[in-house]
């Protein structure tokens, strides 16, 4: 289905849509307070954008440096060209060590690669240990937001889910007690796990270290208990120097949730004593994205979710209306980058208000990319034929002043004599709006009447 169809459905439940909008606006407002407390905020954003541009320009060198340094620490580095290769590598590592129980912390990359279903089909138990992710996993749903995976659910719904899945008492909706129930449930999973899989927020080329940021400490527990840690990262996660982290860690949590820093920012250099660390570096279309000048800035995305929280459309249509691994403004440019036909409605799920680009901590030109996508979709014949016909007609009329005047005059006569029919023709507008009173004469006509120039 297209975005408008799913969005209209979301909006129909007005009360829930309002609640969803307000929940996310609350996060945006918290982010504003955090950002405005840093006088050098815009300078940080500029630095972050410049670092990311430098990384894109020298990516191969940085990746090789990172690999060499990580190996010195005893990590095993694997390279995956696409999602299938990534899943196969992870599976081989797990199978050769007879692992059947895995705990996993948040990673949009493994969502992108479909790792969970891939491993589950092979008989493994994969437990997402981030609370929000565990909630959607128990509901057999994907995350609806990249930082707040269960933001579409109310605490009462979580209570019902936990009653069914974890045996908590009926009617439980107190967040603290629900969290406690999840903690107990997850503790068992942590203790039983034979391997921990994590994402990577930053990989430092000069040190070979990786950084994982969480608020729940689940990545730490998931890598400290089992002897095997597999860290999965896209090639764009590289930063050149450890010092660069000072820029990104200041931006990440403030942009994401308005916190000064994530509760846990874990720096890992090699495996823990007696254990193994495998780092899987994945391309999966990223070098292709880098080749397209109009869209390459999207590779700088640090997955903070700020553009989702600020997007007036996302807040009122929900993550699932995008039918993409990553929803919201960043997802609306990444989606068509992977499969333009499938995601053709996403660049139009946007008023071009530009809030996303202004909120983005790495200054990705999101609204410009969505504008550009529209033109690419038209060029490749993927936009709706109706839209193209309307544009052609409008352009034809506007190019010919006399035709413009004649058509406008005719439209006014029709609107005056048959308001019902006019309203029906413009039903997309009149579904919720009254038509304006149509002036008898246009500005151009009135000016001619005045004989003025």
């Amino acid at each position: 289905m297209s975005h408008p169809e799913l969005a209209n459905r979301f909006v129909e439940d007005g009360e829930r849509a309002q609640w969803h909008d307000r929940s996310l606006w609350y996060v945006r407002a918290k982010r504003d307070r955090a950002a405005h407390a840093i006088p050098e905020w815009e300078r940080l954003r500029e630095l972050a954008a410049a670092i990311k541009a430098n990384v894109r320009a020298n990516l191969a060198d940085y990746l090789e440096r990172f690999e060499a340094e990580a190996r010195k620490h005893g990590a095993v580095v694997h390279w995956a060209e696409d999602a299938a290769a990534h899943n196969q590598i992870v599976w081989e590592i797990l199978r050769s060590r007879s692992v059947t129980r895995v705990v996993k912390s948040k990673s949009m990359l493994t969502e992108e690669c479909g790792l969970n279903p891939f491993l589950e089909q092979r008989g493994l138990e994969v437990v997402d240990t981030d609370l929000g992710e565990r909630i959607v996993q128990l509901r057999d749903e994907p995350p609806s937001h990249i930082v707040l995976p269960a933001i579409h659910l109310r605490k009462e719904e979580v209570g019902e889910l936990f009653e069914r899945e974890l045996g908590t008492e009926p009617g439980l909706s107190d967040p603290a007690r629900l969290t406690e129930a999840a903690r107990e449930h997850l503790r068992e999973k942590f203790l039983a796990a034979q391997a921990g899989i994590t994402g990577v927020n930053f990989a430092v080329a000069e040190t070979g270290g990786i950084v994982v940021c969480t608020n729940e400490g689940n990545a730490d527990l998931g890598t400290a208990l089992p002897p095997l840690h597999i860290a999965c990262m896209g090639i764009e996660k590289i930063v050149p120097r450890a010092a660069d982290l000072a820029v990104f860690t200041r931006l990440l949590a403030r942009s994401a949730t308005g916190q000064p820093i994530t509760a846990y920012t874990s720096h890992m250099h090699g495996p823990r004593a007696g254990g193994e660390l495998h780092i899987v570096i994945v391309d999966n279309g990223r070098t292709g994205m880098m080749a397209r000048e109009s869209y390459r800035q999207s590779l700088g995305c640090i997955r903070c979710g700020a553009c989702l929280n600020t997007c007036p459309v996302y807040r009122r249509s929900g993550g699932y209306s995008y039918e993409a691994v990553i929803p919201g403004p960043i997802g609306s440019t990444l989606g068509p980058g992977r499969d333009p036909a499938r995601h053709a409605s996403l660049p139009y799920a946007c008023t071009l208000c530009g809030s996303c680009a202004d909120v983005c901590p790495v200054k990705i030109d999101l609204d410009r990319q969505l504008f550009h996508w529209r033109s690419d979709l038209v060029t490749s014949g993927l936009s709706s034929p109706r839209k193209r016909r309307a544009s052609r007609l409008a352009s034809l009329i506007m190019r010919h002043p006399r035709l413009y005047r004649a058509v406008a005059k005719l439209a006014r006569v029709v609107a005056a004599r048959a308001p019902g029919a006019t309203s029906a023709v413009l039903s997309g507008w009149t579904v919720s709006r009254d038509l304006p009173e149509i002036p008898q004469r246009s500005f151009r006509e009135q000016l001619e009447d005045l004989g003025d120039e």
Binding site: N8, P312, V378, S432, F443
Partner: protein
């Protein structure tokens, strides 16, 4: 100030939807410009900057209009337009749409009305009286496209010609909104194509103004206002939508 501007050639660009649906805004713009000593010529063609086509991705259909715009206004020092959105199209999207050789010089001197009054004419006070509670709906293309004022996302302070000129009017009280600069949901074809979300966005903007006790919603973009006005009329909300040029014009002034 009129002396300094005596030899400056200023053209008024009246976009199609203002021409057809809100001619009073174009007249108000001319009168306000004249009040501050600017005799603007009206150039009739083209009536469209090409934005509606460009926004849906039809660059090929937008290009002839952009070229026609550049030809028509090439001989002027400034083009003034009572629509932030059209100005943003000219300034931010013509480069890349048409060849550089087409003469893009005028793009940088195509200005929104308040911006022109403030930056070029040097107006800091409109004068006159408008004793009403006004909510300023900051249109996105004016705010983030032309940088008229500080967007709430950014940690910076910029001049806000629209707000400052409104605030300079005696009796006019600017109300403070819960969401200072959220989009109203018009978005051109978006209003029709994504009617559910567009409607909800617009109603939320209206409700914010109603809660703040606004009698008038003011904006530099008639397109946002036509959308908000249509929503308000359907629900019989007693708030007026007025273009800032209409307010400047209505308060008489004393310059």
């Amino acid at each position: 100030m009129s002396d300094r501007l005596a030899n400056v050639r200023v053209a008024l660009f009246v976009p199609c939807y203002v021409d057809q649906l809100a001619p009073q805004v174009a007249f108000a713009s001319l009168r306000v410009l004249a009040r501050f000593g600017v005799k603007a010529s009206f150039v009739s063609d083209p009536a469209c900057c090409g934005q509606p086509m460009a926004n849906v991705g039809s660059a090929d259909e937008a290009r002839p209009l952009a070229l026609s715009f550049l030809r028509s206004f090439a001989g002027f020092d400034y083009v003034v337009c009572p629509s932030g959105s059209c100005v943003s199209m000219v300034r931010n999207h013509y480069r890349g749409l048409v060849p550089d050789a087409a003469g893009l010089e005028i793009c940088g001197r195509t200005m929104e009305l308040c911006e022109f009054l403030s930056d070029v004419v040097g107006v800091d006070r409109i004068g006159g009286r408008f004793p009403h509670r006004v909510g300023l709906h900051k249109s996105c293309h004016g705010l983030r496209g032309l940088r008229l004022g500080s967007a709430s996302e950014l940690v910076e302070t910029r001049p806000d010609p629209v707000g400052e000129l409104l605030a300079s009017i005696e009796g006019l009280q600017l109300v403070s909104l819960e969401r200072a600069d959220e989009c109203c949901g018009f978005g051109g074809a978006f209003a029709v194509e994504e009617s559910g979300v567009s409607t909800m966005m617009g109603r939320d903007r209206v409700d914010d103004h109603v809660r703040a006790g606004a009698e008038v919603i003011a904006s530099i973009d008639m397109s946002c206002l036509l959308h908000l006005q249509g929503l308000m009329r359907r629900r019989s909300v007693g708030v007026r939508a007025m273009h800032v040029a209409e307010i400047f014009d209505a308060c008489g002034g004393d310059a």
